[in-house]
Symmetry: C2
Subunit: 197 residues, 2 copies
């Protein structure tokens, strides 16, 4: 009853993470109300992103240039490589201004369940970057999940003997966190990695 | 750090109802991964909707033709008009196959807070449709909210004396609902409107 155009739009929007069929319908109605301010600009922005945004062949970041802004920025320390699972994690670290190093996006984590093996991730590319020389430290910034940590150990194994130090993010109490609300794993990790004041 | 194209896309997507900045970022990353299957088709579908979908001048429904499919469907009963707040409500009633009548979309509800007066809704259009004759019953299918019911009373007032009967949806226990979880207002309404078996 909504016509094939709107049905298709609802169906496509409903495939975005965070939007189900019901919220996709709400979004479409909202879009139709804001035709000039939202619908057309959104269509345009999607097309522009499809046309212009490419994956950096060096690090795997998304940008309009290749190598990306970060890889081609002379002020970024080329001796530090921060390895992340996904571009979203890279964005999170950049938002925090957490590092002046460069990145390497693996493109996922090892997962036997989902059939993701080492060849599906850009581990070989990372090894090549380290072998090319000039990298002093590789910081493994994977998520603190089972898959993330498995992947971190695998990557560390692959990098051993290449002459760079390999580190991982600290695990502990998140800043602003309350002990009472934390899980046992975090508490044990925080206690084990305690620092002298 | 994400480049102006992606920033703009995130910002536009984040304005959709149900998507905040964080889920918009996730959606954009997902879109970039599914360029051919999702990103380009979505851009295309948005443009097509903008080009083709119009508001029905008779009832206010969204469709590619004007008068819309429902208004021009000879099998729909022209003697029954179901008045709804929004196109989303029309879609909900159509999904349920609840009526064989035609619709009239008000385009909102009266709200002093939001500065929505009678002239901002298509009440005059509804009155004209009834005055044109051939309408036996107007069913007010507004939401059972304070604004919805205020609007229903206002519309009923405007329609009085035009020679059609004006009804409203029943209020009561929703089908499948449990008394223990219902609010007082619904329980009182359900008891007051009890039916003999």
């Amino acid at each position: 009853m909504t016509g094939p155009e709107l049905e298709r739009l609802i169906q496509l929007l409903g495939r975005l993470p965070g939007l189900g069929p019901r919220s996709a319908r709400r979004a479409v109605l909202d879009l139709m109300k804001k035709r000039e301010q939202l619908l057309l600009p959104l269509s345009e922005a999607l097309r522009e992103a499809a046309d212009k945004v490419v994956t950096c062949a060096t690090c795997g970041n998304l940008d309009t240039i290749d190598p990306c802004t970060i890889c081609s920025d002379e002020r970024r320390d080329p001796r530090t490589l921060v390895v992340v699972e996904d571009v979203g994690d890279l964005w999170a670290l950049e938002r925090a201004g957490a590092t002046k190093g460069r990145y390497h996006v693996l493109g996922g984590v090892l997962s036997a369940l989902d059939g993701v093996g080492p060849d599906d991730l850009s581990v070989a590319g990372l090894v090549r970057r380290v072998q090319a020389g000039g990298v002093g430290e590789v910081i493994l910034a994977m998520n603190a999940t089972v898959e993330g940590q498995t992947t971190a150990h695998y990557v560390a194994d692959r990098l051993s003997g290449l002459g760079c130090s390999v580190t991982r993010l600290a695990h502990g109490v998140p800043v602003g966190g309350e002990l009472d609300y934390l899980d046992d794993g975090t508490l044990v990790a925080a206690l084990k990695s305690r620092r002298s004041l």
